[in-house]
Point group: C2
Chain length 231, copies 2
DNA sequence: TGTACATCAGTGAACGCGCGTTCACTGATGTAC
DNA sequence: TGTACATCAGTGAACGCGCGTTCACTGATGTAC
């Protein structure tokens, strides 16, 4: 860390969203610049924490002058919370995919297919997942709170899905949430391990996938016994 | 975030380790300053991420001039890795406490006592646990690597402890590690929830504690079935 | 024990730099007539 | 359809500030004799 704000990553040309394209409305162009700010933030956070990004840096990456940043966001924190919302959309999509999978099979989704869907979503939306994992316990409380809220929602949705499984039909809401919480926990750890593995070497997720599947099986076995051991 | 490097936290007087105390050897005084740098780093990271700390800020908090920082650490990164090592000592102590508890009872430790030990350790070493949770997936790769290495070690130690339980004596090393991994995961989540709860309101950990205990029970039930369902 | 010298934790001035934010501006796009 | 005016995304100069790091220094502590 010779200078704390240096970015060691390759120079990557700025998005040049500010370039005048003609034949595109002013508001459309504004939208593109806004999206560029969000995209470049995600890209920059791959290597570092959000709190260490500067406004000037993000603006430069998006191809605008620092002062133009304020046309889109009131502050870096404002930008950060928006990035959380965008990334969470991806997480919710992952859950929806799982639900769709369940519907087409018209059966309890297997552990294998659930993990496979997650792996695919992580591959397709690496930056978003990286942001969520990194900032979940990061240094900006507003962002932590936003992620926490969304994750709770996610757990609740999964609990509802679980309640539709015949074997779990008689479970109480609290127990369902507990199980859902445990499963989400296993999946989040799987995501973190995948992302760290991808960073280091070529992306061979097979070992992480296999371990996560086995952990989920262990949790499901626990759920099976739970029914009989708890009231 | 009006200025990214401002610290909003109360002013707290600097440690004044540099004060000449007489009757204390030079090396002892150096040690105290070094410890002050480590302590103040932990204190500052309670609110923000390590990557957003500046050398000048830490030096000021420790009561020395910025240039004197280099008498103790080569860089902020060097300081950060040292903080990881210190914090991990606390985590290992937690495991040792658990093991001692197991020895005095001469029995399988109950879920309740394991969680109680963790809760107590978190209360006594809040700053260290906060640092580990915050920086585990944080923006400094060297620190991530250091924490990851220590956590793997921690899982392996727990797996060895598990192998001493008669019911698990015939388990393979891989399965034991899988179970240990799952349990550590539950415990880490409990720590994160406790710390976030402590930050917001008064520290009522009872709900977090109860939920974590029930999650551990679910995992242990899964382990019981694992034996019969897998080879 | 006393003296002369070496060590070294901490000091303070100085540097060039990137930071967030202000301000007055430009000129293409959009709108009212 | 043409014209006159309003809007507003992006510009560029300027500000004061905290940053990491260099350097020569001070003076108490430690050591060799």
């Amino acid at each position: 860390m010779s200078r704390s704000r240096n970015h060691a990553s390759p120079p990557r040309p700025p998005t040049r969203s500010a370039a005048v394209d003609a034949s595109e409305s002013r508001s459309a162009r504004k939208g593109r610049t806004r999206q560029a700010l969000l995209d470049e933030t995600l890209a920059l956070v791959a290597d570092r924490s959000f709190a260490s990004l500067s406004l000037r840096e993000v603006a430069k990456a998006a191809g605008i002058v620092p002062t133009a940043f304020y046309r889109h966001f009131a502050s870096m924190e404002d930008l950060g919370v928006t990035v959380v919302e965008d990334s969470m959309r991806v997480l919710r999509k992952t859950l929806r995919e799982g639900r769709r999978d369940l519907a087409t099979r018209n059966a309890v989704p297997t552990v294998k297919s659930s993990v496979a869907i997650l792996v695919q979503q992580v591959r397709e939306n690496e930056a978003q997942f990286r942001f969520l994992i990194r900032e979940q316990h990061g240094g900006v409380s507003e962002i932590r709170r936003a992620i926490d809220t969304e994750l709770r929602l996610f757990v609740k949705e999964l609990a509802i899905d679980l309640s539709r499984i015949p074997e779990l039909a008689h479970w109480g809401a609290e127990d369902l949430e507990l199980a859902a919480d445990l499963m989400v926990n296993v999946l989040l750890q799987a995501v973190a391990e995948m992302l760290e593995a991808n960073r280091r070497d070529n992306g061979d997720d097979r070992e992480v996938t296999a371990r996560s599947e086995r952990k989920l099986v262990m949790v499901i076995l626990g759920m099976n016994s739970w029914r009989t051991s708890q009231q």
